[in-house]
Subunit: 380 residues, 2 copies
């Protein structure tokens, strides 16, 4: 096990009818900027619950943070926050709204432009305290310090790290009305978050391995049930808890991490606009295939413990495990190849060229160069 430092101060408030707790979680004297997405908060009833809970607070609303939040939009929220001198920010929506909020929170006290903070987090100084009502289980943003921000102008999409939400309220009932495709993408995203922190070496941390496998086993059990009935409270709760636990550091103590699939996925999404979780579902099996020698032992452990694949030669087990992974993503209702999404080879070539010019080296061993990315993407 590697040496590590773990700390996660976010207060997680989980369960039905918990949005009303907002009123006591945010001090009465705060001026609150409430950040929303495209409007689903009004149709699913969350807006009304938030408005009721904060009816005695001083609030100002910003609407319109889009999926894969764009710095162009967030600059408007930053301007509003500065103008109104807000000293608390509440994100209401999914991971994109919260990711955007993290950049807004760091940018309001900053004199320069928000994109500078994405490119260089050492410039982050004071951060306006923020919290979230999380209504789309997927990114884990509700209990971590990371965010992913896009820049339309430069066609770029990068991760950046600021600080943790003070609290996050998760009411599984708010997820009932999500589009099924969003839920499927969220399950895929959660699965891939878990495996990025797992598919490295065997025996680095047997406990973290068990916990990562625990998330994947739970997703495997839960996914068909929520596909059949998205208003099954118990199962949506199970899924929502998995999504939070998959990216809050709880399975990352003392272990190496990979993230090659995510890094490639971000590039593909930035280039093509394909939803993040859908992109990952296609790329992960290809990454496993291309890196099958390097990751073979762990793929076999994963196959055995998550998919009960115990028979056959080493190569047969690896093949069967990759196939089971692909089949799982297919069972969610997601596409399993770029051709289904009409992504052309020329797009891939352009993307790879750009990565080559940046000299990328993804993965835990920093050996996933632009050439390897090309191999992976051609396989998709």
């Amino acid at each position: 096990m590697n040496n590590f430092i773990f700390q996660n101060p976010t207060k997680l408030i989980f369960g039905q009818d918990t949005i009303s707790q907002l009123s006591k979680e945010i001090p009465q004297d705060k001026k609150i900027l409430i950040v929303f997405g495209g409007g689903s908060a009004k149709s699913n009833g969350v807006y009304a619950q938030v408005a009721e809970a904060l009816k005695d607070h001083n609030t100002v609303e910003f609407w319109g943070v889009e999926p894969n939040p764009k710095v162009e939009t967030l600059r408007e929220a930053v301007a509003l926050g500065k103008l109104e001198s807000v000293d608390f920010i509440l994100s209401v929506g999914g991971g994109s709204v919260l990711d955007g909020t993290k950049l807004i929170a760091a940018s309001i006290p900053y004199a320069g432009d928000a994109w500078e903070l994405v490119l260089d987090s050492s410039k982050i100084g004071e951060i306006v305290p923020f919290a979230s009502i999380m209504t789309l289980p997927a990114t884990g943003s509700e209990m971590n310090s990371g965010a992913v921000i896009s820049n339309l102008e430069t066609n770029e999409k990068y991760a950046f790290y600021s600080t943790f939400p003070q609290f996050s309220i998760l009411d599984p009932k708010t997820t009932y009305s999500l589009p099924a495709f969003q839920v499927a993408c969220g399950v895929a995203d959660t699965f891939v978050h878990t495996i990025e922190q797992y598919l490295i070496e065997t025996d680095c941390s047997p406990l973290m391995d068990r916990w990562a496998e625990g998330i994947m086993l739970t997703l495997k059990e839960v996914a068909p049930k929520i596909k059949a009935d998205q208003t099954d409270y118990a199962q949506m709760s199970n899924y929502m808890l998995c999504a939070t636990m998959a990216l809050n550091g709880f399975t990352a103590m003392g272990v190496a991490q990979d993230w090659a699939t995510h890094m490639i996925g971000h590039e593909v999404t930035a280039f093509t606009g394909v939803t993040h979780g859908q992109t990952l579902a296609i790329i992960l099996p290809a990454t496993m295939t291309v890196l099958r020698e390097q990751k073979g032992d762990k793929i076999i452990q994963y196959g055995e413990r998550v998919w009960n694949i115990v028979e056959g030669s080493r190569d047969e087990k690896i093949d069967a495990t990759i196939e089971a992974t692909k089949r799982f993503f297919g069972s969610l209702g997601l596409a399993t190849s770029f051709s289904e999404l009409k992504i052309e080879r020329s797009t891939i070539d352009e993307l790879v060229e750009r990565l080559a010019s940046r000299g990328v080296a993804f993965g835990d061993k920093a050996n996933v160069s632009a050439d390897i990315v090309k191999e992976i993407l051609y396989m998709c």
Copy 2:
């Protein structure tokens, strides 16, 4: 899944040669009370590392917190802390030293007597910030807000809750010189902590079930290896991480908890002085046996997933699972019955009489009355 609130702010600093990080974790202007146990910190080299790390800090030492820390001893530390006007406390040792530190931290700013805070935690006001160097993996005290304190005069032993350590430093190398019996008791304690938060209903939270099973499976794998070689860094790390994760709330989200075995165990330890982990190892199988109807479904799930017990009738599976649990504790080198420890039936009778007069009702269903405790203890 039940509604829940989870928050754990402790910073966990884990790995070899991490004690030196003390100097930057505690602000230079603090007056530090360093609390020690009986002297092993000097023989295992931890004292020298702490002294080196804090050589530029202002410190005062208190020695002598004993196993099952006694309020009589802690009062002396409180008096010293008040006299010296300390504003930070560092616990160096095992769970008993840290548990004692939690009461000291709450009692220094309190005008009354420390035992009042154990009896009524609503009296806790300001708490002196504290942290730990944890050198005995067992109680999980390094990442939770609980403590267990004994009172010699009244022969009582109670849990109390204050706040979390600011940080805890865990260097697995500091455990190499622990007596083998202490390590065995620590493994048993960790195992029972886990199962107290697990052996309730099936299907309340499949993810929390997997994580609890993950700790128990890891302990099962690790225990024989550390029994064979207590200086195996990887295995002592695995065990140490399990001990912390077994009682920091990470497996308790949204699930009911039992704690009957612990409540009974505390009484037995208070009466007989038998080490906590040893007591639990004897009581747990008896609790499972007496409550086999109520807990049958979960016992079967636990038996299947942790001990691979998949054949036989319902009763046979339950029997085999209880037997496997008992065998595991025996394999650690612990006694598995009171008779081995020469605990008399008259002692049990006296203890049960006392519980009856208090009208106890232990367990998640509050149905473990003094009569049921008697049945459990007679079986031990």
